[in-house]
């Protein structure tokens, strides 16, 4: 089936098999390698992408459902603020879960730059990290919010 959508700002027109998952299409056909497959069933969040500004699992979505949508992955973020905040806070170890966390962080910060600790926890509850624990990741989100607001304080 022919689909047409924007991926990280670029218009894409492709013919895709109807049984192909969005994750396989984006990774294998379009080379978007930030998207990781962890569990393949919506438990881990490593495959998270932004579709029309909302974070969703690309493993639980058909490629044909991307038709007409605006898709953003880590490759297409307009700046590196969240990535830098994760590095600064030491919120990365093996890095496999990181793109998913960054996308969920972006989805949260699109809604608010003053997230409460509860809002941060809720925004990240669908992403699993088996290396770091979550304290540093939560700090990274707070830090990214601050960096977006232009403040350089770092408590």
């Amino acid at each position: 089936m022919k689909i047409k959508f924007t991926l990280n700002g670029t218009l894409i027109e492709k013919d895709v098999p109807v049984n192909k998952r969005a994750i396989d299409f984006l990774r294998d056909d379009l080379g978007i390698l930030s998207i990781k497959e962890g569990c393949g069933e919506g438990e881990c969040g490593a495959c998270t992408i932004l579709v029309n500004g909302k974070n969703v699992h690309s493993c639980l979505m058909l490629a044909v459902e991307l038709d007409g949508k605006e898709v953003i992955t880590v490759e297409g973020l307009k700046d590196n603020v969240i990535q830098e905040a994760y590095v600064e806070a030491g919120a990365i170890q093996c890095g496999f879960c990181t793109p998913g966390f960054i996308i969920s962080t972006k989805a949260l910060l699109n809604e608010t730059l003053n997230p409460t600790p509860e809002e941060i926890k809720e925004a990240l509850e669908g992403n699993l990290c088996r290396c770091t624990g979550y304290v540093k990741i939560e700090k990274a989100v707070k830090l990214a919010a601050k960096m977006y607001k232009g403040s350089d304080s770092n408590d």
């Binding site: 919506g42 969703v56 979505m61 058909l62 044909v64 509850e125």
Partner: protein, 280 residues
């Protein structure tokens, strides 16, 4: 393997496709695609309902109408903006994760008819009706759901939406027991709504998830409590009644004995949290 994918835009087109292909309807696919991948469902046709021209979320005659394709995230925003049925927010925020709530739908939860379905529990508590098309039948949810995964739907019919009561001035409590904050399928859950009149019960609704083939609610017990004084003894009585009425199974998540004990404990816990002002 999926060989055919359809995007009907009208009720008749959807209905005809359903008859012709026997395909699976989906909106978010958060449940269907997991089942297809696990081999629990084998279908060559899926029907995407998201292109259907359907109505919007709306409030009419003290009822909340939730059409198919409305996601949990959209429902939460609507509930908050209109300040109605705060228990729905408490229940919906525990469903899945942000990614699931951005795709998954209340109508899909009803269609799955799991006794662990959190939105199914909400719909029982709020005396929901299920609206079918093209027939335009309106069926109370407890009649529509016949058992685990069993619903009353003719070959040509599909769930068009659900209608819930809007309740004012009710105290409420919801808790589900599971092993992680996100993505949990409940081991057992309780939802409670109480309207008071001078420390006595004016209306009470109590429902349990995952402890019987369908959501457990008993309107006769509820009716018999109208006018009763609200105290711990009353909740001990309720805890006992529902302990006896529950008929859970043992599965990978928990044993039936544990689930029965949860029914008892959660009932008392609801009372303590609501009335003794001690949060446990």
């Amino acid at each position: 393997m999926i060989k055919n994918y359809f995007r009907p835009s009208t009720i008749d087109e959807l209905s005809e496709l359903k008859i012709k292909t026997n395909g699976y309807l989906f909106s978010g696919g958060t449940d269907l695609f997991v089942k297809i991948r696990a081999g629990a469902i084998n279908t060559d046709t899926v029907i995407d309902t998201k292109y259907l021209e359907n109505e919007e979320l709306k409030i009419e005659n003290k009822k909340l109408f939730i059409p198919l394709n409305t996601t949990y995230t959209e429902l939460r925003k609507f509930i908050k903006a209109n300040q109605i049925n705060p228990i729905i927010e408490n229940i919906v925020k525990t469903i899945g994760s942000p990614m699931i709530r951005n795709r998954g739908t209340p109508v899909g939860n009803i269609a799955n008819a799991s006794p662990a379905g959190d939105f199914v529990l909400a719909s029982y508590l709020l005396n929901a009706s299920v609206i079918l098309k093209p027939s335009s039948k309106k069926i109370p949810v407890e009649e529509f759901i016949k058992g685990p995964g069993k619903i009353e739907l003719e070959k040509e019919e599909f769930i068009y939406g659900i209608e819930l009561e809007i309740l004012d001035d009710y105290k409420f409590y919801f808790e589900k027991v599971g092993r992680r904050n996100a993505m949990i399928i409940s081991i057992a859950s309780i939802g409670l709504l109480i309207k008071e009149d001078n420390e006595k019960i004016k209306d009470i609704r109590i429902a349990f998830g995952s402890v019987a083939p369908t959501i457990l609610r008993n309107k006769e017990i509820e009716k018999s409590l109208i006018g009763e004084k609200i105290d711990k003894n009353l909740f001990k009585y309720l805890a006992n009644e529902f302990f006896n009425l529950s008929s859970p199974i043992t599965d990978v998540r928990a044993s039936k004995e544990y689930r029965k004990q949860l029914v008892y404990n959660l009932t008392l816990k609801a009372y303590i949290n609501l009335y003794e002002k001690v949060v446990i």
